[in-house]
């Protein structure tokens, strides 16, 4: 039971929750049951039907809005995050640092979960430890040489779907080829437009043949590409689906509302877990396309892929599968494809409940300024030494963290070719996570965003975006130092510029190299911080984040291995060994964390016979 001091600290506390999803719901319940009386929640989605004698103040808004500034955060005793994306987490982290308010962070992914505590100056901030950037793929892999199913999904989603149903004015690499500039771009522009009197079925087959047949043949014409790779095979609709009569099936009557339209229903494909054959995928492709044009005409031209849009998911699955088939990549079910395309984070209530409980425990420690007892707690998927929860002492702040330790960064860039716009999108927003940046060189402001800027300044800044760095009013060259600030996050850092002529297209697709910025290796491991799904930015042409093939074991290692590497100094050097005390809180972990071994063989317990068929680990 809580002591009197704890109870009064709880009663007095003004708490801010950010996010009301899986963790958020459990957290709110736990906070209320624990006696918290003044709870504020910033959440995009609505919630709330609860105990009347507690004050719950909801803000149905995105936490990045300007009204949630440092002064807003300063009002609280502690901030509790229940977010699902890296971007918002970084944003809140910076605001908590600026306001000097303790932050309890958390995340869950399936059975894995973690809770971490961040106090300015005392512990690491959320960004001290590398958070793997969302995975991006080189453009040529997507457009010409896919080798994994995820590449096919990206192609289907960001190129084909976008081209057919999205903003027509958006730049699109769909017809990018590694060579052969013979075809004029004007000609290819017409290909995707439905001609005036064209039958929808004809149109569908034409598109099919163009992207799966013609484009592949063109790609094949470049021998060099295929020297060390398996060649794809072109696929034509007439070979897969010999000319059929237009289907007039009664199924079309089902789900007349535009929202319920589904190719699967139309084709009587019942199970989203089935892996369709090439024939079935082709049918779905054509049917989905047909349904889009027939029933959702008004959406065409403004659609972006939405994982909750059944027809879109069907289309993307089918398209990705046909492409995969062409390149000899194994096909996937709609269920799997949806997970990859939608960056779905798998989740269960129990983990969220556990994490919520741990958040409240840490929050209470924070309120009591119980400095020696803060813990980062990891909830494992499999028990290690019979223990499911692994508490670890927080580490000291990272002295080279550019967020909380004000270390300058360095950027190698071709100052003559790189436009300010690219710098802003790829570095400032995507990598540094600033949403409303102000960029200065010395006293000269190169760019800023804001609500109350003067007209002529807005014009100047817009013009600056299109200029190469070396051509800016205050020219940027090797040796220049840029100061970048986000006023809302009250965060500023400096970047030393160094000019470099050439960049490797494959390894440095952005044409820029940022260093001093702590980034985890982005490679096949795809180590995501627990509970993050969406990509942080939509900067083109790097392709969006995707889940990819997840390997269960990998998930556990990132943060936990860091904790056990022993490279960093703990808050206190004092040994943690204490005798178990039955009258106290259930003791979770008696031993020094360093001794715990994650790979404890004894405890790899798997419950059912059918588990194998579900996990299907895919080897790269």
């Amino acid at each position: 039971m809580a002591s009197q001091e704890q109870l009064s600290a709880i009663k007095r506390a003004k708490v801010l929750m950010v996010g009301a999803g899986g963790i958020g719901c459990e957290l709110l319940k736990t906070l209320a049951l624990s006696g918290f009386q003044d709870i504020h929640i910033v959440a995009r989605d609505a919630v709330l039907r609860f105990r009347p004698n507690i004050s719950i103040t909801p803000y149905h808004a995105n936490v990045k809005e300007s009204r949630f500034n440092v002064d807003f955060f300063k009002e609280f005793d502690v901030v509790l995050n229940g977010l699902d994306n890296l971007d918002a987490r970084r944003h809140v982290n910076r605001l908590c640092l600026a306001a000097d308010i303790p932050l309890v962070e958390s995340g869950t992914t399936g059975f894995l979960g973690q809770v971490t505590v961040h106090l300015k100056g005392k512990t690491e901030c959320y960004e001290c430890q590398p958070k793997p950037a969302p995975k991006t793929y080189p453009v040529c892999t997507i457009t010409s040489t896919p080798s994994k199913f995820v590449h096919c999904i990206v192609w289907a989603k960001d190129l084909l779907f976008a081209k057919l149903f999205g903003d027509k004015n958006q730049e699109n690499d769909l017809n990018v080829r590694s060579s052969d500039t013979a075809n004029s771009s004007e000609h290819s522009e017409d290909v995707f437009e439905c001609r005036k009197d064209e039958d929808i079925e004809r149109y569908g087959r034409r598109i099919y043949d163009h992207v799966f047949g013609h484009n592949i043949e063109v790609a094949l014409s470049n021998e060099e590409t295929w020297k060390n790779r398996n060649k794809p095979r072109p696929i034509y609709s007439k070979d897969v689906l010999p000319e059929e009569q237009t289907k007039e099936n009664g199924n079309e009557e089902k789900g007349c509302a535009a929202d319920d339209v589904s190719a699967m229903v139309s084709l009587s494909l019942k199970n989203p877990q089935d892996i369709w054959s090439l024939v079935e995928n082709s049918r779905v492709f054509l049917e989905a396309l047909r349904l889009f044009f027939l029933k959702r005409e008004k959406d065409i031209g403004n659609l972006t892929f939405d994982k909750d849009d059944q027809l879109a998911v069907e289309f993307v699955t089918a398209a990705a599968n046909i492409r995969a088939s062409s390149f000899g990549i194994p096909l996937h079910s709609l269920f799997e494809a949806k997970g990859i395309a939608g960056n779905i984070v798998h989740a269960v209530a129990t983990t969220n409940a556990i994490i919520a409980g741990l958040i409240v425990i840490e929050a209470i420690k924070v309120l009591q300024k119980d400095n020696n007892n803060y813990r980062m707690t990891y909830c494992l998927e499999h028990p290690s030494r019979k223990l499911l929860l692994m508490p670890v002492e927080p580490y000291e702040p990272n002295r080279s963290c550019y967020v909380c330790s004000e270390t300058p960064l360095s950027l190698e860039v071709n100052t003559q070719r790189c436009k300010l716009r690219d710098f802003v999108e790829k570095i400032i927003k995507a990598k540094l996570g600033m949403n409303f940046p102000l960029i200065m060189q010395g006293a000269s402001i190169l760019y800023e965003v804001g609500e109350d800027l003067e007209e002529d300044m807005v014009v100047i800044y817009a013009a600056n975006l299109e200029k190469a760095l070396s051509e800016l009013p205050s020219p940027v060259a090797s040796g220049s130092v840029l100061t970048v600030e986000d006023l809302q996050q009250e965060f500023s850092c400096s970047i030393n510029i160094k000019h470099r002529e050439e960049f490797d297209e494959e390894k440095e697709p952005d044409g820029m190299l940022l260093s001093g910025w702590v980034e985890a290796p982005v490679d096949k491991d795809n180590n995501k911080p627990i509970g993050n799904d969406e990509s942080t930015s939509n900067a083109l042409p790097s392709m969006e984040t995707l889940e990819g093939e997840k390997d269960d074991e990998i998930q556990e290692t990132s943060e936990v291995v860091e904790a056990f590497s022993g490279k960093k100094r703990k808050l206190s050097e004092v040994s943690e060994v204490t005798a178990p005390d039955p009258s106290g809180p259930s003791s979770i972990n008696q031993n020094k964390p360093e001794k715990l071994d994650i790979d404890d063989e004894d405890d790899e317990l798997i419950i059912s016979d059918d588990w194998e068929s579900f996990t299907k680990k895919k080897k790269l």
């Binding site: 199970n271 989203p272 269920f335 997970g339 798998h346 989740a347 209530a349 419950i607």
Partner: protein, 253 residues
Amino acid sequence: MDGEELTEQETALYDRQIRVWGADAQRRLSKSHILVCGMKGTVAEFCKNIVLAGVGSVTLVDDRIVTDESLSANFLILPHENHYNGKTLAEVCCDSLKEFNHMVHVAVETGDISTFGVEFFEKFDAVIISCCSLGKKKLINQKCRKLSKRVAFYTVECRGSCGEMFVDLLDYKYSKKKLEETIECQIEYPSFEEAISVPWRALPRRVSKLYFAMRVIEQFEDVEGRNPGETTIADLPGVLKLRKELCETNVQY
């Protein structure tokens, strides 16, 4: 839940958790029936979790009348003041749980289930007991074990910020993965009675002291005829005395 496949509705609703434990596990969940006795704290959490998970049915047993005290640490009981006149804990929790997931059948059973026949327990796949006396726990466990069908038996007891859970899965077969191999294993679970009868000196050193503390309080309540969970700080002298006795008995060679 007709037929073998999950319905479209289920696949949509349970999407995120199916991605954790697979469609097959979800199917099995939807066919499972759970009996829960003793609606308090941890059990309320459990009910929430199992209902959200999409189990087939949950049957609640607790004939105690709702009081103000019941509100603490049971979020299934909303403080709607006079709403409750004479309603039992099971009835109120049942109403709340139904709202968590319309696809789960939640019902109430009245009476002292330890007096029910063995056939009653056959309807369930798992039985969870809390706030029960020592005798009742043993009795219910025995009834479950008499059945040819496996009925998993769990007890959970929470005292303050400590807790204990007991699991009896009878004759349990499972698969263990070691590197690329899958090994078939089997464990024979002891009954609750067998488990707590193990002499203390025979237990491994690293067994948590909490285990022993729970046994002492359990005995105390049994001997003194107390309702489970009603031992208070005033009883401390008596509890310590019993502890001394038990330690002496159990540690003797």
